[in-house]
Subunit: 190 residues, 2 copies
């Protein structure tokens, strides 16, 4: 089996054998069980994550209730707010499925970019994509009602609907599970 | 008067005289009147913007109504979605006040980074800050009711409350102006 991180990077930039070797030598991968917590509220994020396999859920706990804010799948990067701010995390990250995740702490990430400088262009490109996606999601959330949000997910992120339990999806859409069932019923019957 | 772009960049990285000279030679600045539209729905964004003075409003028109999604102030960069995707813009950008704005099209931006490579580290840093801010704003919007959203703005972006007319602010918060007045009344009386 190849190294999935090298496969991913090679879609965007060409790596020399030496550069691929540098990445291969890193012992980056970890396996996580379903429901294992990667990051807890109040703790300090020391790592960034790149999902090789599985799904990670981001959620806040407010008034004793979990409120889902994001789901991450294969080939997505998670860079916790706490990693950047050095403040305790306000939210949780936990594995919604069994996961294989590549881990990078700050020292390792910096060293990798020093050894392979052209990675920084890729990181910038990925950052710009992420800003774009976040902005579109936010604009869409604000400009639409829950039914429109659900239809938009159907169109833009169908994998989310197949892999996320309905009660988690309802929380992500900002509605109750009963409302989500009604919306799904209307769409099926229309 | 100095060049405000050089002043801004110099907060983060040290520019040599030659590098400052390169930036100074660009004829970047434009003045805009209040309510002048920088980018219209359906048009293609050719430029990025960096606000020297003034305030820019981002809004969608849905069901004949303007829906505000963002406000940008001094020292903020606006990189329209359409600039990145090369698709027609889905939203408008217009000047809420008289503005002085630095303009950069793609060719000029690329050339500048080629001439001053260390700018790319600054751009990455700014991108990461922007992702962070967008994520926090989005999480906050989803996890809070309109009154909590308003209180959060009071605490985190007071300049927004001073410079944005109430009817624009209400649209940004996703409520009617009447609801916003009630919220403000409750807070003043508490």
């Amino acid at each position: 089996m190849g190294n999935p991180i090298i496969d991913y990077i090679s879609q965007f930039i060409e790596l020399t054998e030496d550069e691929a070797g540098i990445i291969n030598k890193q012992n980056l991968f970890r396996q996580y069980r379903k429901n294992e917590v990667l990051l807890a509220e109040g703790s300090y994020a020391k790592d960034c994550y790149f999902i090789i396999k599985g799904c990670v859920r981001a959620y806040y706990i407010k008034d004793g209730e979990e409120r889902n804010t994001d789901f991450f799948f294969e080939n997505q990067t998670i860079r916790p707010v706490s990693y950047q701010t050095k403040q305790p995390s306000e939210y949780y990250l936990s594995c919604l499925e069994e996961c294989v995740i590549a881990i990078g702490d700050e020292a390792r990430n910096q060293k990798l970019v020093e050894q392979i400088p052209k990675l920084s262009a890729l990181i910038l490109k990925m950052s710009e994509e992420l800003i774009l996606q976040k902005q579109l999601e936010f604009d869409h959330f604000k400009n639409n009602n829950p039914e429109e949000r659900y239809i938009n997910l159907l169109e833009t992120r169908p994998e989310l609907l197949n892999r996320i339990p309905l009660y988690h999806l309802a929380s992500y859409l900002g509605i109750t599970q009963v409302s989500l069932s009604r919306i799904r019923g209307r769409i099926l019957n229309s």
